[in-house]
């Protein structure tokens, strides 16, 4: 029931304390057969290193790219992915689900 997502929060804290710039991505809404539940986390650093999962691999690349920008400008943003999305060919969810991901910087 309780996922290992709390380990990701611990990792986010450890990375930030180690002086790395860090962003946290969280699945905030899902529709259809989304691969990872609401509340799943991904932690990303300024170099694009990441741990955790928000989609089981489908959109992590795009989230990491956005997260590096969030680290740069400090502004949180909400991303949406799904087959109906125009970027579907690039980063769509093969399962047909849709997810919203909130990406914020850890200050």
């Amino acid at each position: 029931m309780i996922s290992t997502d709390t380990d990701i929060l611990a990792t986010a804290e450890a990375w930030a304390r180690a002086g790395r710039s860090v962003a946290l991505a969280t699945v905030i809404e899902t529709w259809g057969s989304a691969p990872r539940p609401v509340g799943s986390h991904l932690v990303i650093d300024g170099e694009g290193n990441f741990q955790g999962s928000v989609s089981g691999g489908c959109v992590e690349g795009a989230v990491v790219e956005e997260a590096v920008e969030v680290i740069g400008d400090g502004a949180a943003r909400t991303l949406e992915f799904g087959v109906a999305d125009e970027t579907a060919w690039k980063v769509g969810l093969s399962c047909g689900g849709r997810i919203r991901v909130y990406v914020e910087k850890v200050n």
Binding site: M1, I2, T6, L9, A12, E13, L24, I28, G39
Partner: protein, 230 residues
């Protein structure tokens, strides 16, 4: 997120205390609500509901989209008695994601052979429970039928805030148990916390059915509407 907020979230989690992070998705504004602060919070109803389900989720309040990151400690079940019923409970608890700990100082009962992959503690319950700690996400179940073993465990449970206390035994057995606990200084309100006869009334006969009734009652207490504080 502030590093301080993240740090508090992690510390509360490590201390097995429930916490909810409220994030305004549009503005990025965030605040932390600890479990004890929920009743007085403007979002009390939504916070309580999400916490009981141990699920993060989006809620709307006054036209704002708020994401609730729910950190609920993993629920534990601590049992005195490495008996037939607890043998049946072990695989069921695992399926339910309930961390099971079995205490029994009788080392002939508490053997890894009888309880593969279960955490067994062979100290006396008062010693074992002091080390394990009983908190609001712990259920305590007394199954030995032996007051020497069950009573110290029940006394520790009654002094704690654990969310469920159950004791095996007939009404007559339980009547004598209450007399002993009252003699030990517990009042009627305290002893009323004990679920006895234990388990949901499903007509359970076999040890596995009794285990099911007990775990059903534990889940219902964990997920059901919050009871008024005693």
């Amino acid at each position: 997120m502030d590093l301080a907020t993240l740090s508090t979230l992690n510390a509360e989690r490590a201390a097995r205390r429930a916490t909810i992070l409220v994030t305004d998705v549009a503005s990025g504004a965030q605040r932390l609500v600890k479990a004890a602060e929920i009743p007085g919070d403007p979002l009390a109803e939504a916070l309580d509901r999400q916490l009981r389900m141990a699920k993060s989720g989006m809620v709307e309040s006054e036209g704002r989209q708020l994401f609730l990151t729910v950190q609920a400690p993993p629920p534990r079940v601590i049992v005195t008695g490495a008996v037939h019923i607890s043998q049946a409970m072990a695989p069921m608890a695992k399926l339910l994601d309930l961390d099971l700990v079995i205490i029994d100082p009788r080392t002939a009962f508490a053997t890894p052979e009888r309880f593969p992959e279960v955490r067994l503690v062979t100290d006396w319950p008062d010693v074992a429970l002091a080390a394990l700690g009983l908190d609001a996400y712990t259920a305590f179940v007394a199954l030995t039928h032996d007051p020497k073993i069950d009573d110290p465990g029940l006394e520790a449970a009654l002094r704690s805030e654990c969310f469920y206390i159950g004791a095996l035994g007939s009404r007559k057995t339980h009547g004598r148990r209450i007399e002993r606990l009252e003699a030990a200084g517990f009042d009627a309100a305290a002893t009323a916390r004990i679920h006895a006869p234990i388990g949901l009334d499903i007509g359970a006969v076999s040890p596995a059915e009794i285990a099911l009734a007990i775990l059903g009652e534990i889940v219902s207490t964990l997920r059901g509407p919050r009871r008024a504080p005693a």
